[in-house]
Symmetry: C2
Subunit: 488 residues, 2 copies
């Protein structure tokens, strides 16, 4: 296993952009703009012979003309010019290059030969390469947005490497809707030099990274991911979304990243053994990033369910059992405690179905009893935010004064219950902290509601129970791996 | 099979509310408020001895005192009073009762005996019952919101019956986020009289209903759903979400709706044979309601994929194959056509990967070629709305004037591409209409974006490719059932 310290790559004190441009809407000007508008904390040196200034910064003919040390050079010049530029970077003593330029091994034998030449030159100078054919890198600590798209991710503990630039940067953007923050990101491109195993190993040892996301389509020749994955999984969760699982996906991957998917069955088995959390949909990747980065791991697979409606309790129970979790029966002592809080016709079991009540709402009291019970390892709180209160209440038609007065009165009541989530969500956060159990909220409602729940209260919530269950089930499986792996 | 014409139930000219109240926050006043604020098109008669007026309407001591014909009586009085009220309704000649009151068979033998008494009385008078223990009914044509919660659903072609009131009314509310409109809804409650088979049969023959949604937990004694389901599925799609599929879910259902789930394996097999579209998650129920009510059925299982990024094409291809669909290779003649539109390094295959382009965007031209190809039955258009343009572009920090000018220029460009979805979405709608193939858009982005796509352009869109694939796969399976069933 190579031991690549990528600190200077992700947190460079200075960056050069070779192929910088003063013409709008070229990558050579868009990437510098993304870096500067993101308030990058280091120094930025545009490089292009024949241009004086780029976005107010002095432009140098070559990297060798830059009067200071350079940690990272981004390169976006035509492919055939790249070997010469690598040589100059070597002479300048730049340790890391991020090669945005495309038309290398992903296009066929001619491109592959050029890529080999680039690599050879880099090795001679001890340079490490990201790419070629990468969409760039992001680092929250340095406010570094060296990316092709103008994405400005939220900051957080999730780091990601992706063999697809598009999938990667769109996960960063999607995180803004979901409240999921990123620490570091790299679009690994053709992985000519630095590859998935290197990034994985670095993220595994990076203190700022708590959760690792990976999108991979295949393994390059000679890349053995297994040792890196096994070592990383012992330290922190590795969520792997694998493209090219099928014939159709494999063919698309071959034309996209040029990788050969290989036997998916063998790959799956190896990843599972190594403790990887295998993810099957893009939504699950985001959902699990959210849960793993914001919840403690459950100690077992027993789930308590609190609900305001019986049907949703049934749906959640089905989903738990189908995901390999248990919904244990409530012991008498808990039933007696909850009897004191709820009308006599409550479910008297798990799921705890509170049954519709208009005014009195002992949601938090029930949740406290359920979460405090040592018979459950995780709790799903259905209807925590009472999201239905956000919908339009009445059509815009004039009504008789008696009806208008009743509408006014009801709207006032709605404002009261809309304010309740504050107490409920604050309470959930407190219970999660004291019990060290994951408590996940569920409310049908739009994305921004769930983002606010996470950002304002540090409570993870999803719009459907099945998404909550899936995230918890992945945490249960990972916790079980970690428990077993300790004895290896 | 009973032949129940429920026209007068769903579109009554007049409604009585027995147990109406002038006290806010009791069901007896909330339900009348929901009816009146929803601008119900018929006449409304509150009933309660000892109250003069409810929300400006004269209140009658009993239904028999109402001076006009009554089509439907809602009842929300205590359970033990209901048999007497049913008798009075019989004497008044009211054909349909909606019994909101609970504490009947769902609570045990005593409640079951009372429910039997209610049914016996109703039968003597030829009255048909919804419930007991129902959350009410909704009908778009009559603007009738006879529901416990204040939900004001969007109008549309989807009708739903639900054995869980909560699941049902939350689907109505959720539809407002997703742009999915409802025609009729009934919370079927204990199904003492009218049951799932009756509602199914009625919706099957109802011209205003194009898609039927069902949430069921179990079958009452003697209820044979099979003939109704088979007849309905030949006419229109029946999307069934079954709760109580597992031991845990079955136990929760027993304590909720009191139903016995029975053998899920046999039920599944029967439903499949009858052509039912079996749905496995709440999200899939909403997603499929959207697709089935807005897209033509595909004629086969071959999917064309248009993408702006290779990785998403891979993910979509995997998902298609895993869902039993094909992603056929592009014939040379199509490759040559698309060669004229895209840079030489496009994927030259299906998925058609356009490869990132900043300004020139022949998205619609490529889509037209792909959709017009007789080798595909459905098309997924990834990145149709360019949703990333909605995210914040720059942090709120003062920057050097050159950077500020570049930001201004880029923002202007962004406004231009933000306006492009108008042309693209209008184009998608036109292509869907002319080719009669489903074209489903995908863009990572918040709910309101997808609602607008549907409401403003009649284009179905989802935030992830897997959700689009799942909806199309269900349409493919249903289309295949209909094709085969013709020869029965």
């Amino acid at each position: 296993m190579k031991n690549s310290n990528l600190d200077r790559l992700f947190n460079p004190k200075s960056i050069a952009m070779v192929g910088a441009s003063a013409t709008p809407f070229k990558w050579g000007s868009i990437i510098p703009l993304n870096i500067l508008k993101g308030n990058y904390r280091g120094k930025f040196f545009p490089v292009n012979p024949g241009i004086d200034r780029v976005l107010g910064h002095e432009c140098y003919p070559t990297v060798m003309d830059i009067p200071e040390t350079v940690d990272v050079a981004l390169v976006s010049t035509p492919a055939k010019t790249v070997p010469g530029i690598v040589k100059q970077c070597g002479e300048k003593g730049i340790p890391f290059l991020v090669i945005i330029s495309a038309n290398f091994s992903e296009t066929g034998p001619r491109g592959a030969a050029l890529e080999a030449q680039v690599l050879e030159t880099a090795r001679q100078h001890g340079i490490r390469l990201v790419g070629p054919n990468t969409m760039g890198i992001y680092s929250s600590r340095s406010d570094l947005h060296a990316l092709m798209p103008p994405t400005m991710p939220l900051k957080g503990p999730v780091s990601m490497f992706s063999q697809s630039g598009n999938v990667g940067v769109q996960m960063l953007a999607w995180g803004m809707d979901e409240g999921v923050g990123f620490n570091k990101f790299v679009s690994s491109g053709n992985e000519g030099d630095l590859n998935s195993a290197d990034y994985l190993q670095y993220f595994a040892n990076d203190e700022d990274t708590r959760v690792i996301l990976a999108y991979m389509e295949g393994l390059g020749p000679g890349l053995d991911l297994f040792p890196a994955v096994q070592a990383a999984s012992l330290q922190k969760p590795v969520l792997l979304f694998k493209g090219g699982r099928t014939d159709a996906g494999g063919k698309a991957a071959a034309s996209h990243s040029g990788t050969i998917a290989g036997s998916n069955r063998i790959f799956k088995a190896a990843m599972h053994q190594a403790g990887v959390i295998e993810i099957h949909t893009s939504q699950a990747l985001m959902d699990c990033a959210k849960a793993f980065s914001n919840c403690p791991l459950p100690r077992g697979n027993r789930v308590g369910i609190l609900t305001r409606g019986g049907g949703w309790g049934v749906i959640t129970s089905d989903s738990c059992e189908e995901s390999g979790m248990e919904v244990p029966p409530l012991p008498d002592v808990l039933i007696k405690k909850i009897d004191k809080l709820l009308p006599s016709y409550w479910s008297r079991g798990n799921p705890v179905d509170m049954v519709a009540a208009i005014s009195n709402d002992p949601f938090l009291e029930c949740l406290e009893i359920l979460t405090g019970w040592d018979g459950v390892d995780a709790v799903i709180a259905l209807g925590a935010t009472r999201a239905t209160a956000k919908f339009p209440f009445s059509e815009d038609v004039t009504k008789p004064p008696e009806v208008m007065r009743a509408i006014e009165k009801y709207l006032k009541f709605r404002r009261t219950i809309s304010a309740q989530p504050d107490a409920i969500l604050t309470g959930i956060k407190r219970l999660a902290d004291t019990t060290e159990k994951p408590i996940v909220a569920v409310s049908i409602g739009p994305d921004h509601l769930h983002r606010a729940t996470l950002q304002d209260y540090q409570v993870v919530s999803y719009p459907t129970p099945e998404r909550a269950v899936r995230a918890i089930a992945h945490m249960v499986n990972y916790a079980s791996f970690k428990k077993t792996a300790r004895f290896y």
